[in-house]
């Protein structure tokens, strides 16, 4: 049987193709229903003016009941944004990707939330525990039990 994830992702893909992405968000790669890549840019004045980031979404067969694993891509072309909730390995400490995930959220919904997380950043800095976390971090950020920092950053 086709997993519930592929059915739901098909619908999201169709919506992206018919309605387009919100400003600053672009679909880079959605060739299968396991992993999608999107680019993310903060529009207007922000700490990240002129910077373009890329996000990797990994889906389990139970998506959207289970949250996607979302992280910033780091390669020759892309870097992780310097932000108090983003670790230098691209992992993101955001409650909506963990215990505040809701199955009515979507790929684009997550992108928009992360876009506004970056937009509201006042000071570019790494999380205080960055080095310790990155040294022992699992490959999949969903395996991390994040302690969520404040919601104001």
């Amino acid at each position: 049987m086709a997993g519930i994830a592929s059915r739901r992702l098909q619908k999201e893909l169709k919506e992206i193709h018919t309605q387009g992405c919100p400003v600053g968000i672009q679909l880079l790669n959605a060739d299968n229903f396991e992993e999608w890549h999107l680019s993310l840019e903060v529009m207007g004045e922000s700490q990240y003016q002129g910077e373009v980031f890329a996000l990797k979404f990994r889906f389990e067969p139970q998506y959207p009941i289970s949250a996607p694993a979302v992280q910033f891509i780091i390669n020759e072309k892309y870097k992780a944004p310097v932000h108090p909730h983003v670790y230098s390995n691209g992992h993101i400490c955001a409650s909506i990707l963990g215990n505040e995930w809701s199955p009515v959220l979507s790929v684009i919904g997550v992108c928009v939330t992360l876009q506004s997380m970056l937009a509201s950043c006042k000071k570019k800095e790494r999380p205080p525990d960055n080095d310790r976390y990155v040294m022992h971090a699992p490959d999949n950020p969903k395996k991390t039990r994040f302690h969520y920092h404040d919601d104001t950053v």
Binding site: G3, I4, R8, E12, P103
Partner: protein, 109 residues
């Protein structure tokens, strides 16, 4: 002018009574979890209808029963919330008695 009806076919259309007027352009007639129309069925079912009913929360949000139950069952007991408003999910029992409304129209041919 005199018209003789030689033949007619009845066509019936059904939909769940989700407590508001039907609006074909309204996106909110989709289950927020699977994004399939309420009148369709959840991704695990093959046939829409009584085997794949919709469920109302006390909060007024509606989902396919199978979708919302799958979400609730995998949540810890203190977090069994409506995905839309994150309030504790309480199924509105009284609304499930009166489920389908029917619109029947005769089409002449």
């Amino acid at each position: 002018m005199k018209v003789t009806i030689k033949n007619w076919n009845a066509i019936a259309q059904w939909r769940w009574d989700i407590g508001k007027e039907f609006d074909e352009t309204d996106d909110e007639d989709l289950c927020g979890i699977c994004r399939v129309a309420y009148e369709g069925c959840c991704p695990r079912c093959k046939m829409p209808g009584d085997d794949c009913p919709v469920l109302w929360g006390e909060c007024g949000h509606v989902y396919h029963m199978h979708c919302i139950m799958q979400w609730i069952e995998q949540q810890p007991p203190n977090k069994q919330n409506c995905p839309m408003d994150r309030k504790p999910w309480i199924t509105a029992e009284r609304k499930t008695a009166n489920t389908a409304t029917q619109q029947t129209q005769a089409v002449q041919s």
